[in-house]
């Protein structure tokens, strides 16, 4: 990333932090958007708290998805699980045609309103990109490298931990990033089923016809998503460089 | 190496499917009966939900599929068995609606329960696995899709399912269902068409002017990252201002409704279209371009006769991503008054009416799925002609 790009993101981060911790400072900016003396700044909850709740939901779901998806990906690429490989590939591509909203909506009647359906939807939908990338990463490890590892007397477990997983890591991480970014959006919609999160601000704006709320919520969510996406991307590049995989492998 | 057509050593995937079938038959209710639309449900097992002979036929059919799943490895046999299973359970669940509902009761609701869904899942897994292993060509896949669509249409229009709760929801909203469906498809495909019209030239430009490429792709990347509802919200502000001008208002531009949704979907669609156009053009072999130049093709001729046709499969892959993504995202448009199937989903959430949620969600999933199958086939076909 160029120096200028880093500066822009740093500025955006500072603005975001300032806004969620002291939103009232920004009231004059949003005032022109309001009508009938409606409040210019979201006043039905603490923005900082909502942001933390939002991130908490997203990351705990992502953590669970990562654990399960990587485990499943490893299982179906072992010789004993290979019967399930073709089906898993099809299921992933079918699963990704499900819109996240549909997953969320179907979870509600099953577990009720609140955090639960959101967590379930985020977990399920988050599985797909991570699982898909784990499969891609593990199956694209060069057979030559694996043959050499086997020929030098590395057992299956060692091969997995020392060769396959490190080589698949950049692709797996890209899957996790994709999953987190999609989840940030889905979690926003989660507010329609009463999950705590930044979607509340937008929904409140839509309900009270307050454009200022809608814009605030939209901007905070958008900035958060863009910054987290870029942050994860930077982390991946760093890791790839440390692993010595070179720019081509990213 | 020839694998045996049947074997006594059980197949693991088949065994899993058989276990699902077992649970569905013995431990899960087949349908749920509710006294009215939002009342709590009561479970009904297969034998409570169907006349005895039909119930026996159903159980027999399901067990046969389980046996085939465990012992037969030949994909075509598995496919036939699982399809037969689906053909048996689908009308059965419709039949049970009439059997469970007391005569003349118009408030009672019957909906498929866990057992039905598990059977459906088990059979579909088997179908999906068999189809994957058969490695059907693009035309055969399109054929399979049409057969599935025809079977669905037959079930829906024959009235076999009319007693089911979800179709009762449909019956009370038949008019708005089709107008929302039109809205949904128009939003998704219209924004796609606009994105292709703008994105293709933009992609060609990026390909020819590498200096622009990084900047344009970066901006589009950032847009793609912004969650849908946030982007809808942000777009409402400028469009709201535009709507203050009479001309814009006359053109149908409003701060709320379909306009911000359309613009947002359009913006989301740009990245896959532009990026894939660039990648597709990049991958046209340099020797081919060189040969075209050597034969005296002009810049324009080279683009339309050589480069774009060769890049077509990759561009189509971008369009596939966009279409599937748009069909899903269009659901969210309902939140800002943009209409589409999302209307039923969010109404359903608001009323805790699962059938209404499903009325919106199932067509969305079906549309995305069909779009994915059709475009995958198109990509494969274009690959065959361009190489």
């Amino acid at each position: 990333m160029s120096r200028r790009a880093v500066m822009i993101r740093l500025t955006a981060l500072i603005m975001l932090l300032a806004f969620i911790s002291a939103p009232n400072l920004f009231a004059p900016v949003f005032e022109p958007l309001t009508t009938n003396n409606a409040p210019a700044i979201y006043n039905q909850g603490n923005l900082l708290f909502l942001t933390m709740a939002h991130l908490g939901t997203v990351f705990s779901a992502a953590l669970a998805s990562t654990l399960v998806a990587v485990l499943l990906g490893v299982l179906v690429t072992r010789p004993s699980g290979v019967e399930f490989l073709p089906l898993s590939r099809s299921l992933v591509s079918i699963g990704q045609t499900f819109p996240p909203v549909a997953v969320l909506a179907i979870a509600v009647p099953l577990v009720g309103f609140g955090e639960k359906p959101t967590l379930i939807a985020l977990f399920l939908y988050g599985l797909l990109p991570i699982f898909e990338n784990t499969l891609t990463g593990l199956t694209q490890v060069s057979p030559l490298t694996l043959d050499a590892a086997k020929g030098m007397g590395m057992g299956p477990t060692r091969r997995l931990y020392e060769v396959e997983l490190p080589l698949a890591l950049p692709v797996i991480l890209a899957g996790i990033r994709l999953s987190v970014v999609i989840n940030l959006g889905t979690a926003t919609i989660g507010s329609t089923v009463a999950a705590k999160g930044l979607g509340e601000v937008i929904i409140a704006g839509l309900q009270s016809n307050n454009t200022a709320f809608i814009l605030q919520g939209g901007l905070v969510v958008a900035l958060l998503a863009v910054l987290i996406h870029d942050g994860l991307m930077m982390f991946e590049r760093l890791l790839v460089r440390r692993l010595g995989l070179g720019p081509a492998a990213a | 190496m020839a694998s045996p057509h049947w074997t006594l050593s059980p197949d693991r995937l088949g065994s899993m499917v058989a276990v699902l079938i077992g649970i569905a038959l013995y431990a899960a209710p087949f349908v749920t009966y509710r006294a009215n639309r939002i009342a709590a449900g009561a479970a009904r097992s297969i034998f409570e939900a169907l006349p005895p002979t039909t119930a026996f036929v159903l159980v027999g059919a399901a067990l046969s599929v389980a046996i085939v799943a465990i012992f037969v490895r030949r994909s075509i046999v598995r496919l036939a068995a699982a399809s037969l299973g689906l053909v048996v359970i689908a009308p059965c669940v419709g039949l049970s609606a009439g059997f469970v509902t007391p005569a003349g009761n118009t408030f009672a609701r019957v909906s498929p329960a866990l057992g039905f869904w598990l059977l459906g899942l088990a059979f579909s897994l088997l179908v999906a696995d068999a189809l994957t292993r058969l490695r059907l060509g693009p035309w055969a896949r399109l054929g399979a899709l049409s057969i599935a669509a025809a079977a669905m249409a037959l079930l829906l229009f024959s009235g076999a399912w009319d007693g089911l709760s979800i179709l009762k929801e449909y019956a009370t909203r038949a008019d708005s269902f089709w107008s929302e469906a039109r809205r949904h498809v128009l939003l998704a495909i219209g924004s796609l068409a606009a994105a292709v019209a703008v994105g293709l030239p933009l992609g060609v430009l990026c390909h020819r002017a590498p200096r622009l490429r990084a900047a344009i792709l970066q901006v589009l990347n950032v847009i793609q990252t912004i969650p849908s509802i946030a982007l809808f919200g942000i777009l409402m502000v400028p469009l709201g201002y535009l709507a203050a001008f009479p001309l814009a208002a006359a053109l149908g531009i409003h701060g709320i409704g379909a306009a911000p949704a359309f613009v947002a979907l359009f913006l989301y669609s740009l990245l896959p279209v532009v990026a894939n156009t660039v990648v597709g053009l990049d991958h046209v072999p340099a020797t081919v371009v060189d040969a075209a130049r050597g034969m005296g093709l002009s810049n324009r001729q080279r683009l339309f006769d050589v480069e774009l046709p060769l890049a077509l499969p990759v561009i189509l892959a971008g369009i596939r991503i966009v279409l599937v993504q748009n069909l899903g995202l269009a659901t969210v448009a309902a939140l800002i008054g943009g209409g589409g199937f999302g209307t039923f989903v969010f109404q359903g959430i608001g009323q805790t009416a699962i059938d209404l949620v499903l009325l919106g969600a199932i067509p969305t999933v079906a549309l995305s799925f069909a779009a994915a199958v059709i475009l995958d086939a198109a990509i494969e076909l274009s690959n065959g002609t361009s190489q």
Binding site: M152, G153, G155, G244, L245, A249 | M1
Partner: protein
């Protein structure tokens, strides 16, 4: 001593390796040569049990390899493949350290060994130890691949087309390097190739395979003078047979008593080189010098030609 006894591998109805037996002396290079699909690689991979034989066995110093746990066996046998299979996420030093680390060598011993091997292969440890495979040239990757296989001082080195990915100029150099290092370490090597030139250049003994069977096994000269089948004859080529033979024979094999004018040729050189010198300088004979430089006799065109006919 490696003994291969009646090794056979079948996949379903196809036999890939059919009843192959031969012995490999310690400190020698045996080259297995044949057309592609002849079963050479499968034979090699049965030695370190990457492929389990259908029947037959391999003995290393009298010990049946089936009695050794697979991974332990592979720790004792170096393995180099075409394309080398270097770990792309590990540095040169980490790659070389793979088997010593699996064997639990201590840090100091591993570091010393890495430095020793890099020196041996003329790769400056300070520069190369921390490089990643994608930063190396093809020739350098090949050398690291061999160094990695030699790291734990294996009793046997298996090489499957180790020079296949190199261009001709670098390949010749890599072959010479391998010979020099093999002579120095007295390593036992089984090498698979489809290149007859390479087989003649490197092999103390050559095993010719065709359609899963071992057709002939012997020293290179024997393949030329007594080809077992028409296939071997075709493979070695009849047109330049005498020249190949001369390149296998030493000047001392055609040494004649007496004196001659001119710059002496070395007794350890090949007759091929001597003949080439004689033709180039237009003489009938030249003096022959031993390692210390003292003249021990002469070599003549007629003598060389007579040797070529007699073989």
């Amino acid at each position: 001593m490696i003994e291969i006894e009646r090794l056979t591998k079948r996949y379903g109805d196809t036999t890939v390796v059919d009843d192959v037996s031969f012995g490999v002396e310690e400190g020698t290079i045996t080259v297995v040569v044949g057309t592609s699909g002849a079963g050479k690689s499968t034979l090699l991979r049965m030695i370190n049990r990457l492929v389990e034989p259908t029947s037959g066995r391999v003995l290393i110093d009298g010990q049946d390899t089936r009695s050794i746990p697979e991974d332990d066996l592979r720790h004792r046998i170096g393995y180099v493949i075409q394309g080398y299979g270097l770990f792309p996420h590990r540095t040169v030093a980490q790659n070389i350290a793979t088997v010593p680390r699996l064997l639990g060598w201590d840090r100091k011993r591993i570091a010393d060994r890495i430095e020793e091997l890099l020196d041996l292969y003329q790769l400056d440890p300070a520069e190369f130890a921390t490089k990643f495979p994608h930063e190396l040239s093809g020739g350098q990757q090949q050398r690291v691949g061999v160094a990695r296989a030699l790291a734990a001082r294996p009793e046997l080195l298996l090489m499957d087309e180790p020079f296949g990915a190199l261009d001709p100029v670098i390949r010749a150099k890599a072959q010479d390097d391998l010979l020099a290092i093999q002579r120095r370490l007295r390593a036992t090597i089984v090498l698979v190739t489809h290149d007859m030139e390479e087989a003649f250049h490197l092999g103390d003994r050559i095993a010719v395979m065709d359609q899963a069977r071992l057709i002939q096994y012997g020293p290179p000269a024997e393949l030329l003078t007594r080809p077992a089948e028409a296939f071997v004859e075709r493979l070695v080529g009849t047109a330049d047979r005498p020249f190949r033979l001369l390149s296998l024979a030493k000047v001392e094999d055609a040494l004649e008593p007496g004196l001659a004018e001119g710059e002496p040729v070395a007794a350890s050189g090949t007759l091929y080189e001597a003949l080439s010198r004689l033709m180039w300088c237009g003489r009938q004979d030249l003096p022959v010098a031993d390692g210390t430089g003292s003249v021990i006799g002469r070599v003549s065109i007629t003598g060389i030609l007579a040797y070529g006919r007699s073989a």
